[in-house]
Symmetry: C2
Subunit: 327 residues, 2 copies
Amino acid sequence: MIYYINLFYMEDKKELLIVALGGNALLDSKSKGTIEEREAAAAITAEQLMPLFQNTRYSVILTHGNGPQVGNLLIQNEEASSKVPPMPLDVCVAETQGEIGFILQKALQNTFNKHGMKNVTLTLLTQVLVDENDPAFSDLSKPVGPYYTKEQTLEILKTKDWKFREDPAGKGYRRVVASPKPVKIMQAGIISDLVARDYSVIAVGGGGIPVWISEENEIRGMEAVIDKDLASAQLAADLKADKLIILTNVECCYINFKKSNQIELRDLNLDEAQTYFDQGHFSAGSMGPKVQAALEFVQNTGNTAIITSIEKLNEALEGSAGTIIHQ
Amino acid sequence: MIYYINLFYMEDKKELLIVALGGNALLDSKSKGTIEEREAAAAITAEQLMPLFQNTRYSVILTHGNGPQVGNLLIQNEEASSKVPPMPLDVCVAETQGEIGFILQKALQNTFNKHGMKNVTLTLLTQVLVDENDPAFSDLSKPVGPYYTKEQTLEILKTKDWKFREDPAGKGYRRVVASPKPVKIMQAGIISDLVARDYSVIAVGGGGIPVWISEENEIRGMEAVIDKDLASAQLAADLKADKLIILTNVECCYINFKKSNQIELRDLNLDEAQTYFDQGHFSAGSMGPKVQAALEFVQNTGNTAIITSIEKLNEALEGSAGTIIHQ
């Protein structure tokens, strides 16, 4: 039996920031998605994030989406399906966590090193619990993977209980899956331990690998996708983060977006944000889930959420850019 | 400024074991590789490992290979290459760390929970440093991915500087890549921190993502594969582990394997093991790298390595099965 006495001190407690990277931070939608293009995008993003990491007031956890990457992987699974058994969607999300995590982690560590910073980054595989009774499972809404012809769709339905939806623009049929709400970040405790040891953690990639708990009390994968902003808000709530920061390709939220009477939203309390949300100012495919994620985080914690672009991130933290949502 | 005083004690120090799982622990070579087959294989493996995790004398880190999985992923990349830019080998290894890590972690955590154990497992994305001057880069020896016809090979060579080798059995041409020696586990310090917090860590999947440091002092991915047993030995050396345990599909090493004068090897010192290795008793594709990994670990640390099957693991730890290699 060995006894240790350990004396240490902590500087004034750091602010914990959860920063959710938008899809185009890692794969420009205009690019083909070669590794060279993706590494270049990650290097630019890493450089833009440096002021955040250099500010010793902050502990930072990075999260990111995986829309284009998991789409590509589903196409690869499909094209090779006569030779290699396709993996279910949960396993595909896990694959993209490895893929994107590696590219982002490498870019981030190289940028830390270039600036002589001592930060060490890492990527933690992250599962996210969903509720198998979530209404999303009876209203499949999220299109994933390639377009199919009607004949291909009928062929697939012989062996799989997938659901398809016809594309309104006539591009064919696409599989639709559930996008349930995150209930709990399964690795939140581990992430918290890693942050306490000052690691710059990358986690909850692609919204996390969806899992549920069966009647036999077993963790099981779920063929679904979780919105990465909602999953980031859940992580921020689980860890009682000080701020949730959602990065996107516009500087802030707007009402009457892209209309002649467009108005920038700079500072919103919960009621104001909820009202604009209910009025339908934020589109379901882009700003909607970001505002919803911000609302949930502020409601759960009483802390503040920011929606802005990566270029305006530092100004937004000083309060001079972006949309700030608070109690 | 806040001061903390922290008093704690440690039980007699635990033994740190690095346990390398063989390929068939997670994907039976006789199966097609569906998710159902893979989950079933992982569940059996997890159950077989329980006595190890239940023994409070041990801290355990699991490593694993990715041969069949990265082979499948390369086929998927190839089949979809007209639609989706193929990823380089380092990114593919990262994808398999996510894929295999998720399946193994889920099986392991479910088995811990079933037995009422408090263990928490996690998967850490792991890069492994290699030396760009390793002689393996001028003698590409490791075949990866699908077989190609001569015409396909010539077509690929128009855009890529890959190397191919004709299959002696006439199945076509296969890409060959370097299999350099691991120099350092980039995340060894993080793994050590996680073990100190009692997490049951899964790391160095598939031998790790190969990286090198460029002249500009940048971490870069490398199109290569690292032997998972050598990478596990490197992790064991970096962490000064007490034991390296390499699990395979035979109970121990043999000389004159499968001949009438076959002899079980139960206890070898470094000289004996090196002599049998030099005499070519251990085949390059299977037992050779395992004995080499064991030799390197024992030479580097003075500690003991064990080569055995998962079924004989507990007997081997008691000294009554397997091949033990020591100073």
